[in-house]
């Protein structure tokens, strides 16, 4: 019992109790100065009419869709390339590099490269004769830009996960397919993709859950602006709690986020039958 004791302290104090307390706080009005006051489901009903909440939700969903879409397709392509032509650790390491550097550093680096005035990306754009883009500064571009930056950071990592899945597909399956005269495209769609499904489900669950909680990049670059264009849900929770000291409402928001994530994971597992493999 001695062995489990320290972990138990950490678990109870920083996981179990906060989880229960988080649900409790969501039914209270709590501004940190006084004691939490029970107000029932008022925080939740307030949310229904809270335009900023719906905006944050909408912005987050847009971000998640862009991020997941591009990241999965690019990572799948990279993984296939690595699997077929470039297995070297050096190349895998190079692709992983952005993932190892802090979000804050990645955000600052791109903030500089995408600068409207003298950023290299806009220099190239104007050299090509196109109009400069205020990447982080325009309502239209803010979320796609944050999504693109995070795709850049995570694509190598995601590719490595998929690559590991590709490695586990036995060679003889491909041999049989080619003996049967299956075309490369057909082999890809009817063999590689189905066998890759468990890994793809895992990757999707991990990346969807991760991208719903995007914060660092937004906090450092746009802080939710311009206007509300990039105020993602976690940014909204943060501002409610720490700028407006409304911990009850912030907790209710994070309960909603929690429920969404649980639902996403459940649906993905169910629909994509993540636990089963066609290999057996």
């Amino acid at each position: 019992m001695l062995f489990i004791f320290p972990a138990m302290i950490g678990f109870v104090l920083f996981y179990l109790v906060p989880t229960i307390r988080g649900f409790y706080l969501s039914f209270t009005e709590y501004s940190i100065l006084g004691d939490p006051a029970w107000i029932g489901i008022k925080n939740y009903t307030a949310m229904l009419g809270d335009e900023l909440f719906w905006n944050a939700m909408w912005v987050t969903v847009q971000y998640v869709a862009l991020n997941i879409g591009f990241q999965t397709v690019i990572a799948l392509g990279l993984a296939l390339l690595m699997h077929r032509v470039a297995k070297s650790t050096f190349i895998r390491g190079a692709l992983l590099l952005p993932f190892l550097v802090a979000n804050v550093i990645v955000a600052l680096l791109w903030f500089w490269m995408l600068d409207y005035q003298i950023g290299i990306v806009n220099e190239i754009i104007s050299w090509m004769g196109l109009p400069r883009i205020a990447f982080f500064g325009s309502e239209q571009w803010a979320i796609p830009t944050v999504a693109a930056v995070n795709v850049w950071r995570h694509m190598g990592y995601t590719a490595l996960l998929i690559f590991a899945g590709l490695q586990s597909i036995p060679n003889h399956v491909y041999e049989v397919a080619s003996l049967d005269g299956s075309s490369p495209t057909r082999t890809f769609w009817s063999i590689t993709m189905p066998l890759l499904r468990p890994v793809l489900v895992l990757v999707l669950v991990v990346t969807v859950i991760g991208s719903f909680q995007v914060f660092d990049t937004v906090a450092v670059t746009t802080a939710g602006g311009p206007i509300n264009a990039s105020r993602v849900i976690q940014m909204y929770i943060y501002q409610k709690a720490f700028s407006e000291s409304d911990f009850g409402y912030a907790s209710a928001l994070s309960v909603i986020l929690f429920l969404i994530l649980a639902l996403v994971a459940f649906v993905q597992m169910k629909f994509l039958k993540g636990n089963e493999s066609d290999l057996d």
């Binding site: 019992m1 001695l2 062995f3 972990a7 950490g10 678990f11 104090l13 996981y15 179990l16 989880t19 307390r21 940190i32 392509g77 990279l78 296939l80 390339l81 077929r84 032509v85 470039a86 650790t89 190349i91 390491g93 190079a94 692709l95 992983l96 590099l97 952005p98 190892l100 802090a102 804050v104 550093i105 600052l108 680096l109 500089w112 003298i118 290299i120 220099e123 850049w152 190598g156 990592y157 490595l160 996960l161 590991a164 060679n171 080619s178 490369p184 495209t185 991990v206 859950i209 719903f212 914060f215 660092d216 906090a219 450092v220 720490f242 912030a250 907790s251 994070s254 986020l257 929690f258």
Partner: protein, 310 residues
């Protein structure tokens, strides 16, 4: 396009390479790989190039590939080796980044949390894999279930608890939530401990060794490789952690580098930000991770398949 390369069988393509002088599919595939590597690496070179430039010349040489008016000023400024007057003369902001202090804080934060988390998680993983006790699987299931709880959800109550304990802006408050365990660390180590042979352990038991001795003298040394991998991944993660230190470690005396960089950015004037200083600072802040990666890159890369659960 890539699909056609992939689905080719390997031996066949090798023969093809030997027979034909140029295999265009292969060339195309390598071009794509090269492009991907360039896209990931080039921004870091641009970071270095900017850090070695001088702010005054940056605007007029925005697209010059070499440093604009080569200068070590930005690094000196970041490392506190430049007086405020010199800094302003070079186009830096008056805002200081107390680099050495933040570096020290980052080292303390990342080292303490990594050491505690790996050690205590190893103890728990030992209990979950090698010891028999009632309710073991139920407790393990509960631990695993908490992997689902998003960090933001526990962050608010945790912040309140740390505040109530009077630990805001202390290292204790910053490190405590990470110090004892993460479900992932326990899961990761348990997988390895389950695979270890029981024979040595049983022989030691016959000799009258207690669990504590078995843990320290047999289990830990035999698990050196996974422990090192976990420590490496944890250290990199903690070094990069932003959200929690932002909540509880705002004070200068405990501010870590990631938070310090954010503050530095928001302090620099909107008109002409100190880009060279900012890039020099980010580069130096990323340096420990880059060095670790150069030293142990293979380990990190090979562990990714496993850590996918994270």
């Amino acid at each position: 396009m890539s699909t056609s390369i992939l689905s080719r069988k390997k031996p066949a393509s090798n023969i093809a390479v030997r027979k034909k002088p140029v295999n265009w599919r292969r060339v195309g595939a390598w071009a794509l790989v090269t492009l991907a590597v360039a896209v990931t690496v080039a921004p870091f070179l641009w970071m270095l190039r900017t850090a070695l430039s001088s702010n005054a010349s940056l605007a007029s040489n925005a697209s010059n590939l070499l440093p604009a008016d080569f200068s070590l000023g930005a690094f000196k400024r970041v490392l506190g080796m430049q007086s405020p007057e010199e800094a302003i003369a070079e186009g830096g902001s008056g805002a200081a980044i107390n680099f050495w202090l933040y570096l020290r804080n980052s080292v303390i934060f990342a080292t303490v949390t990594t050491a505690g988390q790996v050690f205590f998680s190893a103890m728990a993983a030992y209990a979950f894999s090698r010891l028999r006790w009632p309710g073991r699987n139920a407790v393990f299931g509960l631990f695993l279930a908490t992997m689902m709880v998003p960090p933001i959800f526990t962050a608010l109550p945790n912040f309140l608890m740390i505040k109530n304990l009077g630990l805001l802006n202390t290292f204790a408050g910053m490190t405590l939530p990470f110090l004892f365990m993460t479900p992932f660390a326990i899961f990761f180590l348990r997988q390895f401990f389950l695979g270890m042979s029981r024979e040595v352990e049983e022989a030691a038991m016959l000799d009258g060794a207690k669990h504590l001795r078995i843990f320290f003298q047999i289990v830990l040394p035999n698990a050196a490789a996974p422990l090192a991998t976990l420590a490496l991944l944890t250290f990199i993660g903690q070094w990069n952690e932003y959200f929690w230190p932002l909540l509880v470690g705002q004070d200068e005396s405990v501010r870590v580098l990631t938070v310090g960089l954010g503050v530095f950015k928001s302090q620099s004037p909107q008109g002409a930000p100190d880009w060279t200083g900012l890039m020099a600072a980010t580069l130096v802040a990323a340096l420990p991770v880059l060095l670790l990666f150069i030293a142990f890159g293979k380990k990190v890369v090979n562990s990714i398949g496993f850590s996918g659960i994270k």
